[in-house]
């Protein structure tokens, strides 16, 4: 139901762009595709949160808010004025912009809709994507300390601790991917990982599991952080934006949901199942719609997994987070071991 609405909206965009021609190609076509790719990320990202909240409510035998609630919230926030501390410096005002823009920059580097690289895809590889995303987090942490509120400082310190622990896992996953695929360009990596040699190889799935755990930690989901917590002392992600209001808060929330969307796209379209992407040379508005539906469908599956995890597990104590990310580290190390083990003697 929710997917249909989004598809319709995007279909309008595609219909305008691909008017009259069956194949989207040429300079103009490439520009349209690149824009569409970013638009999909911008417009579909809040849906994730809505779907997760709705599914969670259903699991808890409540009716829950509509899946479009995050859109209504953003609309409301965008029409409100903001209250800013008089001690806030330019960093405070720059952080929402960085949070909003960095996921968009990464979205141009990864296969969101097309199986082949678009012109901007060669600006950077997966490592660059990771660094660009962490730039947003860096500014959020600075901004939280900028107004010298005690909760912001605590939140920044905790968020940095989590990122510090997640960093080695991310690096190891990326290096293992580079080792397996002999490349760090996402468009090459996804083809290698689903080739016959690696589709059912333990290496592949250990990497997917490790990256999924890191994404849970980085986007503040349940074993690490409770996204719906209203208790300031236990917050990690939320306490960093606690000083923001109005339009800047809207940008912050939208940006963080886009970050989650981009991370999940990397997990789905690069590491685990790049199925349904528009093929090179045959990209028509119809294949693009199929790509969007496929992406959202896969996202819904992951949302289901997240909901199951969040309904079964309570938030862990802060000092047990090293256990969680330590387990992710072990998984990625085992992936390296498994690679040397299964590929010995191979090319």
């Amino acid at each position: 139901m929710s997917q249909c609405a989004v598809v319709q909206r995007v279909a309008v965009v595609v219909g305008v762009n691909g008017l009259g021609q069956s194949e989207v190609s040429g300079m103009l076509g490439q520009i349209c595709l690149q824009t569409l790719q970013v638009l999909v990320v911008v417009l579909c990202a809040p849906l994730l949160k809505g779907v997760i909240n709705r599914l969670k409510a259903i699991v808890q035998s409540r009716r829950g808010p509509s899946v479009f609630q995050p859109y209504y919230d953003l609309w409301k926030l965008l029409h409100k004025g903001s209250v800013v501390s008089e001690h806030a410096s330019w960093i405070y005002h720059a952080a929402p912009i960085f949070t909003f823009v960095t996921p968009l920059a990464v979205a141009t580097l990864i296969p969101v809709l097309t199986a082949y690289p678009l012109p901007y895809a060669f600006m950077g590889d997966m490592l660059a994507g990771g660094f660009i995303l962490s730039l947003g987090g860096f500014f959020t942490s600075l901004a939280a300390m900028d107004t010298a509120s005690s909760f912001g400082g605590m939140g920044s310190s905790r968020a940095r601790t989590v990122s510090l622990l997640a960093e080695p896992v991310v690096i190891l996953v990326l290096f293992t991917v580079a080792l397996v695929a002999q490349a760090t360009i996402p468009f090459v990596v996804n083809q290698t990982l689903v080739s016959d040699r690696f589709l059912f190889n333990p290496v592949h799935w250990l990497l997917v599991a490790a990256l999924f755990m890191v994404i849970l930690a980085e986007s503040g989901r349940i074993p690490v952080d409770n996204p719906s917590s209203t208790f300031e002392l236990s917050m990690i992600e939320n306490s960093r934006t606690i000083e923001y209001s109005g339009q800047e808060l809207a940008l912050m929330e939208w940006g963080s949901s886009m970050k989650t969307f981009v991370l999940l796209t990397i997990l789905l379209n690069v590491l685990s199942g790049p199925w349904g992407l528009s093929p090179e040379g045959a990209t028509t508005p119809i294949t693009l719609i199929i790509s969007i539906v496929a992406l959202l469908g896969k996202m819904m599956l992951v949302c289901g997994v997240i909901v199951i995890i969040e309904s079964c597990v309570a938030k862990w104590r802060f000092f047990r987070i090293p256990d969680f990310l330590g387990a992710a580290f072990v998984l990625s190390t085992l992936a390296v071991v498994a690679f040397y083990l299964t590929e010995k003697g191979g090319p």
């Binding site: 059912f200 072990v330 190390t333 085992l334 083990l341």
Partner: protein
């Protein structure tokens, strides 16, 4: 028995080998006795699957029998006894450590690497299905030893011993396509009795020292 191994077999065995390692790491990462016992049950199930797979590809009826017996004795009886014992130890469900969980996980990774780098040197290539199963078995043995030496709870130490046994069992399958059925039967019965006796012993320790923590057993009594 150096017949060519079909690629499907080696792929299935690789996945099962990875699962075996994962269950071993799940044991290292657990804090509660219940989690230890669950991880052991899962490990024995995967082991039975390994036995059945190898049995299918080398056409050995013995290995099927061994797989069924493993499920019955290890995931059934032994798990039942251990969870029964741990339920009666009302006082202590949480396991004490000499080394905390993240450090243990890293140590486990190092032990696994050691196993992977040493095991190809032990056996000449081509005499068994392929190298991963043997490396995984060696890793299981080392991890079991590690659990026995760094966990203070008596039941956790019993589970370390059982992990070592699982490692030996899968090693036997990897190298020699399993031992004769009569030997396997003897071993399974042996562990069964051992777990029974150890369970009773843990209950006695608990009654005497009011704890199943082996660190409390320091004084010799005449």
């Amino acid at each position: 028995m150096s017949s060519a191994v079909p690629p499907v077999a080696s792929q299935i065995l690789q996945i099962l080998g990875a699962l075996l390692l994962l269950t071993a790491f799940a044991t290292i990462a657990s804090r509660h006795l219940v989690e230890y016992i669950r991880a052991f049950a899962a490990q024995s199930l995967v082991l039975a699957a390994v036995a059945a797979t190898v049995g299918y590809f080398v056409h050995s009826v013995d290995l099927y029998a061994v797989a069924i017996l493993t499920v019955l004795v290890k995931t059934g009886l032994i798990t039942y006894i251990l969870s029964n014992v741990s339920r009666r130890l009302h006082v202590q469900r949480e396991v004490g450590f000499y080394l905390n969980v993240p450090a243990s996980l890293l140590a486990g990774v190092l032990l696994t690497l050691l196993a992977f780098f040493t095991s190809p040197a032990v056996v000449s290539p081509g005499t068994f299905l392929n190298e991963p199963p043997l490396a995984v078995s060696v890793a299981l043995v080392l991890i079991g030893l590690f659990i026995m030496s760094t966990r203070r709870h008596a039941i956790a130490q019993v589970l370390g011993l059982l992990t070592i046994e699982n490692g030996l069992f899968s090693g036997a399958i990897a190298i020699a396509y399993g031992m004769p059925l009569i030997v396997e039967l003897g071993i399974l019965f042996d562990i069964f009795v051992a777990v029974l006796v150890m369970g009773l012993l843990v209950m006695l320790i608990q009654r005497e020292v009011v704890s199943a923590d082996t660190a409390e057993l320091r004084r010799l009594r005449g």
